[in-house]
Each structure stands twice: as C-alpha cells, then as structure tokens.
Amino acid sequence: MAKGYKYFEAIEKHAGKLAIFTAIMVSIGGLAEITPLFVEAHSITASAGVKPYDPLRLAGKDIYVREGCYLCHTQMIRSLRAETQRYGAYSVSSESVYDRPHQWGSKRTGPDLARLGGKYSDEWQRLHLLDPRAVVPQSNMPAYPWLADEPIDSKDSVARVRAVQLLGDPYSAEKIAAAPAALEGMTAMDALVAYLQGLGLPAEVAEDPT
C-alpha cells in the first residue's frame, strides 16, 4: 500500500482548495480547445465576395439580433450531407467576419438561414414577418408586425456603421456620406428584409473553402 493519503486529505477536506484544483483541471479542456481558435480568429479574413454590410443591411442585422431571431434560427450550415443538400454549401468562418456577433448556433426551431438570400421574394419576407401564418399555415414563428411602423433612425444607423468601422471593417468615406440618403424613409421591416435577402449570397461565388 502506497503512502500519500495526507495529500488527498489536504485537498479533500478543504472545500476552497478542492474548488481551485477542480477549476484548474476543468479549464484545461477550454485552454486547449478555445484559446487557439480564439486567438487565431483574428487572423481570418473575409472570403472572396464577402463585403461589409451596407448601412441598411447593417441596421437589419441589428434588428435581427434585437428581435432574437437567433433563438430559433441558425446561420451555420454544418458539413453534413443532409444539411448541405437542403440548405446549400456548408458555412465557413471567413463568411461571418463582418457578423458581430456571429449568428452560428445549434438551436433550430425554424430552418437555417445562412443561404436564405433570394430564396423568396421581398413581398414574401414582408408578409411572413407581419404574419407567418398568412404564408405558412403550420408555422409557429411569432409575428413581428411592429417592424413595419418603425422608422430607421439614420443618425443611429450611421453611428453603428462608424462603430464597426472603428473595429476594422472597411467602409469608404463616400459610403458613409451616402448612408443617410440610403436610409431615408426606410422602416425596420425594409432593413430586416434587405438583410435577409443578402444572406449567403457571396458564398455562391466563393471558391472551395478548406
């Protein structure tokens, strides 16, 4: 019989020490899995055709996040045959460099939206957000009727563009100068539909991602 009981006793009889050593052991997995990806994420650049959101779509993306669409929808097609057959090419990280926060996830009540752009008409998207049951009778998606009456605040939207510019997204001075005119008279609905209609379009021209 080996010696050393006192070491076990020292840890097991002191809740504080036990907690600290447990935390250290548990964090090893995280240090190995998360840290490298976290640090290397900053070196990922946009794949061909992926452009920063224009001001209207950026406003739409923020509404998407605000309304919690991500609670039921992912924007991450996994590299599984059944998924790529249904939704299109699998998602790669270089496609979401301009998404802050990214809209990946694993919780799907509704379908994945990563390649939604162009699948339906603008009118369909509007009707569906106003009343999902008007187009999909079986749907349990909530209605978002208030979006149609909510004007886009162009000052606020330009500030958002400046904020992501500050984080390094390339926007030209002309683009920003033109933003207020482009947002004139737009509603939250217009912005969200513009955002949805642009989802995943660039990947159709992007080369094989490996």
């Binding site: 490298p36 640090v39 569906h128």
Partner: protein, 302 residues
C-alpha cells in the same frame, strides 16, 4: 494551426492525460488510515452515518482504464493531438465529400431510371412522387402552399388546376421554375374610380360571374387598353404572363369585385424567384411529376 498552438495543445493533452493517469494508478493504491472498527472516522448525522473503506468495484476500474485506452487510440487515429493529423487521415471535409458523392451516385442512378419513363409514367411513379413532394415542400410550399393550391396574397398561382399563365407544357413549366417569372400589370387607377368599377364589371362578365350588366357594357370599350396584354379575346398571353380573364380561376383573389378593382387600380406584380441556383432539371422533372400526379389530369397536357 501554427507550431506554437500545436505545441500548446500537445502540452495540455500530455499534462492532462499524464496527471489523470498518474492519479488513477496512484490513488487506487493509497492506504487510507482506518480506526479499529474499519471506518475512516468520518461521521455524519451525529454518528448515525459512518464512512468505511471499500475497494473500488472492478467494473469501475476497468471502465476507467478503458477510457484511457480509448483516449490514446483516438488521438493516434484521429486529429486532436495538436497538428497531428491522425493515422486515418480523417477530415470533416473529406467525410462530407464522400457522403455527397455517395448520395449523388444514388440520385444519378435514380434519375437515369426516371429518364426512361414517359412524363405520364413518371407522374405515376411513387418514388418520383415522393421526391417531388419533398422538394416542393422544401422550396415551393412557402408560396404555393403545401397542397400547391396557391396563395392569392402573393399572386402565387394554383399549380394543380391545369390552368397555366406562362404555359403548361413541360418546357415552359421548367423555365418558370428555373428562370423565375415576374408578371407586371401597371397600376391604372388614373382612369378614375368609376371607369375602374365599369372595367371590373366587364371583367366579371367575361367569365359569367355575377355582375352589373349596364356597367359592364360601359366598361367594354375601355378594355381595349387591357387587350394589349390580356389579348382581344381576354384569354391571356403566356409571353408576358397575363392571365386568362374568361375562366373562373383567379390568382390574386377569389374573383370578387373589390379585389378586381384593386388589381386595376394598384396594379399587380407577382414574383416567382429563379431556382436554377438551387435546383436542376432532374429536380424540376420530379417536381412537375408530383404536380401532375396531384392535378388528377395527367393526360390533358401540351
């Protein structure tokens, strides 16, 4: 993965596995001091519960040891140990590519069998119907409804009534699906509300729907404007997607007076997206086959 991060992961894996393996083998042998009665002296509930010392059950020891073996074998075969690619050379992308190739081969085999069938046979083929229905539900049902009966809110037509705006032969339907269709009827509210109502009564008269005969007569001359698109016989024009107004099928409404007035006043613009980026000819063939099987009118075609 850069060399630094590769080493980082390797170091953590070695540390973690090494430490747990060491603890696993050492802790089993450590002698736990006991009192005379064979307990450790730990008591709970004022001495009602006392802790005795037992050997770990064999199944537990073997399972735990098995997990170490699994970890070593896994890290040897699969990627996980830093930049080590694993003896099997497995990658997620390759696995996906293999599965896609396998599925593509199955689908190609099916489609080559379907290609031998006439449209009538294909429409009667249960497997083609099943695939067609799946594709329809996934891509088309959101607008045309699950039963393909259409949705007037979007101007999405009924696809199983054998009444086609853009042409009902297989080639035209395939073009409708792959290239998309957009009908455009301009707003004609500038004609004035009265004229619009007259025209609407005239339109109703064309299909023998209930209407005000006097107003319809008033409306008739104005229909010259409409004939440019809907044809002088009002039977429609598949080239621009102007529907037949003399039958009783309506796309944008149930054919009631206010709806027709609205159509004339505000114009109409149906948008059928192009599907060529998502579907191919093989897909449209089975979709059309399914639609045919649903329309119950498999012979009258072309």
């Amino acid at each position: 993965m850069s060399t630094f991060w590769s080493l980082w992961v390797m170091a953590l894996v070695v540390f973690n596995l090494g430490l747990t393996l060491f603890l696993f083998s050492w802790a089993r042998k450590v002698e736990i001091p006991t009192l005379e009665d064979g307990t450790t002296g730990h008591v709970w509930a004022h001495g009602v519960l006392r802790e005795s010392v037992r050997r770990l059950p064999g199944w537990w020891v073997i399972t735990s040891a098995g997990m170490f073996v699994f970890a070593f074998v896994y890290l040897l075969l699969y990627p996980g140990f830093g930049a080590w690619k694993g003896l099997l050379g497995w990658t997620q992308h390759e696995q996906h590519a293999t599965q896609v190739a396998l599925n593509d081969a199955n689908v190609a085999e099916l489609n080559s069998r379907f290609a031998q069938l006439s449209p009538e046979q294909l429409a009667a083929n249960p497997l083609a119907q099943q695939i067609g229905e799946r594709l329809f539900i996934d891509n088309c049902a959101a607008c045309h409804q699950r039963n393909a009966r259409g949705n007037p809110l979007l101007g999405a037509p009924n696809l199983v009534d054998d009444d086609w705006t853009w042409g009902g032969d297989d080639a035209s339907i395939t073009t409708s699906i792959l290239e998309g269709r957009q009908g455009l009827m301009p707003p004609l509210g500038s004609l004035g509300a009265d004229t619009v109502t007259d025209l609407a009564h005239y339109v109703l008269s064309l299909s023998g729907a209930p209407h005000d005969a006097a107003r319809a007569t008033n409306g008739q001359p104005g229909f010259a404007l409409c004939s440019a698109c809907h044809g002088s016989d009002a039977k429609g024009n598949p080239i621009m997607g102007a529907p037949n107004l003399t039958d009783s099928t309506w796309t944008w409404s149930k054919g009631d007076l206010p709806a027709i007035e609205r159509a004339i006043t505000d114009g109409l613009h149906g948008v059928m997206p192009a599907w060529k980026a998502r579907l191919n000819q093989d897909d449209t063939r089975v979709i059309i086959a399914w639609l045919r099987s649903q329309s119950g009118d498999r012979l009258a075609r072309r």
